[in-house]
């Protein structure tokens, strides 16, 4: 195999490793931020002061089974994706006036990492449903 091609392959593999590591780090940080900022009211698999979050990514707002949502959120028509979750976490009242969440995630990277964590967890099957 030509030397240039070997070098390119090695670089590609190294980059793949770097990026997967970076994504993993973001999810880990997102978990930490989730537990610190969101964990007072939320868990993945049980409704508490806030609704259970497993499966939230890609789901229409207001549909966690058994949770009593505000009319504003339930009727919002919002589907949770990276863009809508970012707007929600940045300023929930500005995004959906009349909702009831009083917590904001101020830092853009923290929001991105929490969203990545929610996305990852939403792929997993609930442990207690």
């Amino acid at each position: 195999m030509p030397r240039a091609l070997l070098t390119a392959c090695a670089l590609t593999l190294a980059q793949a490793g770097f990026f997967s590591q970076a994504v993993a780090a973001d999810v880990a940080h997102g978990k930490q931020i989730y537990e610190t900022i969101c964990g007072g009211c939320h868990t993945m698999d049980a409704n508490r002061a806030g609704p259970a979050h497993r499966g939230v990514y890609g789901r229409k707002a207001g549909l966690a089974p058994g949770f009593n949502y505000s009319p504003a959120l339930k009727n919002s028509g919002v589907v949770w994706n990276e863009k809508t979750l970012d707007r929600w976490l940045k300023d929930p009242e500005a995004f959906i006036p009349g909702q009831i969440m009083g917590i904001q995630v101020d830092d853009a990277k923290d929001r991105a990492d929490v969203i990545q964590y929610l996305k990852e967890e939403s792929r997993k099957e609930g442990s207690r449903r």
């Binding site: 931020i33 900022i37 007072g40 508490r48 002061a49 009831i100 009083g102």
Partner: protein, 194 residues
Amino acid sequence: MRKAELITPSRRGFLGTAALSAAAVALLAGRDALAASHAGGQMASSQDVNILNVALGLEHEGINAYTLGAQSGLLQKPVLDVAVRFQADHKEHADTLIGAIRKLGGKPVEAKSLAEYAKALRADTLKSQNDVLELAARLELGATNAYIGVIPSFKDSGLAKVAARLAADETMHWTLLNNALGKPLPAGGMPFGA
């Protein structure tokens, strides 16, 4: 028997006839002025009521968690005495929040059944005193962070101050529970909130 002093929510009936604590009276002293203040006041009050109700939901959860801990039979003195004291604090918090919500024209959220809290908090997994303490510490830490987190969202700075005082109470609880579990203090300053 201190265990008997852990009053279940249904017996206490605090949604109907709770007497306001001194803190609540102080809290409510300025509410009339707020209500009559300006055109935007109604919206501000509505948002604040929503936040207070979420906080009240957390206090209901805390009260019931300590009831579950006591009823588990896993807590021994002097830990049981501490749990009694902490539950009493959460009842005072709930009374304060209920008073504020009503004064602002809102309807306080009601507590769920003990069975619902038991399911959500996985009370069936509590097998030792340490398990109960771990659960309590986790909830107290979550409440600390939640109160810190909502402070900037209050339209009424008086309510923000109350949230800060409640956060301080929860932090005190967490610190003692953490110590009882033999865990070290967090490394570095400002470990709460984000």
